[in-house]
């Protein structure tokens, strides 16, 4: 199923979930937790990526279109998130090239400046895509109890979601499982 086509269809019909509806109906009371039209937990969200080791500045759509997407939601102030970094690194090394693999913090620049963020990233040996979600657009659908791992299949459906510390084996086997099924 091509998600883009479905979204375009939804917008043209003026379905409440679509952005087109805002123009027609004004700001709706807007149920944030409703599923998007194609059964995803939310419409794809564009995340700002930052320049850091293994990461370029730019944007990344979550879930990524057409690939399996693995997201690590974290905060630099979260101790377990620090503890989680080695396992993430191992997983990134093993399967990072086969999927969209990204760590995303909900901290804006006031809470963690670019320098603070990249210092933290290097301290814990981050070497894959790094992004920010300062307005919590993405994280609001998953929780605030970081670290949270979210794994989407190629169609953007959430196949795994878990907060707390995970081993690299766990992360890798989950990713490989979804890759195999895709």
């Amino acid at each position: 199923m091509r998600r883009r086509d479905v979204l375009a269809g939804a917008a043209s019909v003026g379905a409440l979930a679509g952005a087109g509806a805002l123009a027609v109906y004004g700001v709706p009371s807007g149920v944030l937790s409703d599923e998007s039209d194609d059964g995803l937990r939310h419409d794809p969200i564009e995340i700002e990526t930052v320049e850091a080791t293994g990461s370029d500045a730019g944007t990344q759509t979550i879930p990524a279109d057409g690939t399996v997407t693995f997201v690590d939601l974290f905060a630099t102030t979260c101790d377990i998130c620090q503890d989680q970094m080695p396992a993430l690194g191992e997983a990134a090394d093993q399967v990072g090239d086969d999927v969209t693999f990204i760590s995303i913090t909900n901290e804006g620049e006031e809470q963690a400046s670019d320098d603070e963020l990249t210092d933290w990233w290097d301290e814990y040996d981050g070497r894959w895509q790094l992004g920010r979600d300062p307005t919590s657009e993405l994280i609001v659908h998953y929780g605030t109890s970081t670290p949270i791992a979210v794994l989407f299949d190629g169609d953007g459906q959430v196949q795994w979601e878990e907060s707390g510390r995970k081993t690299s084996d766990e992360i890798v086997s989950r990713i490989e499982g979804v890759l195999a099924d895709d």
Binding site: V27, S29, G30, V31, L32, S33, H42, A75, T77, C78, D79, I80, N106, E107, G108, Q111, T135, S136, I139, V140, H141, Y142, G143, T144, S145, T146, E161, E162, S163, G164
Partner: protein, 288 residues
């Protein structure tokens, strides 16, 4: 502890029909079950815990806001705004931080959608002896809260003893200080604590306590909130996230009539009802 269920005395029949036309103020007085809440009861029953749940009056306590140096009485919000209340301490860097972050996400939504004057965010420390105004300020800022906003209040009881009594007895959301040494001394034999707090066995999330009313809290959850200390569980290495098990970090959403709309007894846990998006939807509905 008395928990009074408040059945709305509103004349339901005549008003319901025009709720849509009159818009704000009327729509949120009535809900389909005729009680004084906007939201319908939650899908998952909370069983019969000791803490206030949907439809109950929230205890009206009065506590200092140390950053503004003023006294905040929960009663002052009646007729003014809804509020969300939770319990933290700054040495708790994981789940308590999550609680503050969660409140800050609702706070951001409120600012974005213009309902910031219809809601207040109350974070009460239960380690006031460690958490002075500066500690609280930093904790709030680190975790993304807009502490300068009028709707944010840190609340700081006079003493740890008062704080724990408030939480455990008055409110019934059992809590314990993981890292505080004094707590280990205060609590002796585990069994005697169970006698004292037997009533709190049901205080945790009804869906997780399978009616094991007399069970040891230690069985039910790990280093989460329980109202007695066993020295074993509280060494330095067992941070509040623990190794496994659930953590009972509670948050309340109370409407502007002082009635609980939602209790979130394990709000840092997984589950659709705990997602910020769901909670934000609840809040938006309550304030509209």
């Amino acid at each position: 502890m008395k928990r009074r269920s408040y059945l709305g005395a509103m004349t339901a029949a005549g008003i319901t029909g025009v709720a849509g036309c009159l818009g704000d103020g009327v729509g949120d007085i009535l809900s389909s079950d005729g009680t004084d809440t906007t939201l319908d009861p939650p899908e998952q029953s909370r069983g019969d815990p000791i803490h206030p749940i949907h439809g109950d009056e929230f205890p009206t306590v009065s506590l200092p806001d140390p950053l503004r140096d003023e006294e905040i009485s929960l009663e002052q919000f009646e007729g003014d705004r809804a509020y969300m209340m939770t319990f933290i301490y700054t040495s708790c860097t994981e789940d308590c931080a999550t609680l503050v972050r969660l409140l800050s996400e609702v706070q951001s939504d409120a600012a974005e959608r213009g309902y910031e004057d219809d809601i207040a965010f109350l974070a009460m420390t239960f380690d006031p002896e460690t958490d002075g105004p500066e500690e609280l300020r930093e904790y709030g800022e680190t975790n993304g809260a807009d502490i300068e906003a009028d709707n944010w209040h840190f609340l700081r009881p006079e003493s740890n003893e008062e704080a724990l009594r408030l939480i455990n007895d008055d409110i019934g959301a059992p809590a314990d200080l993981e890292n505080a040494e004094q707590n280990h001394e205060e609590h002796g034999d585990e069994d005697s604590d169970h006698d004292d707090h037997g009533g709190n066995d049901d205080a945790d999330d009804g869906e997780q306590d399978d009616g094991s009313d007399d069970s040891d809290h230690g069985d039910d959850h790990d280093d989460g909130e329980h109202d007695h200390g066993d020295g074993d569980d509280h060494d330095g290495s067992d941070a509040d996230h623990g190794s496994e098990g659930v953590h009972y970090y509670t948050m309340f959403l109370v409407n502007d009539r002082g009635i609980v709309e939602r209790s979130y007894p394990n709000v840092t846990g997984d589950g659709e009802e705990n997602r910020p998006a769901s909670i934000i939807d609840n809040v938006r509905t309550v304030v509209e």
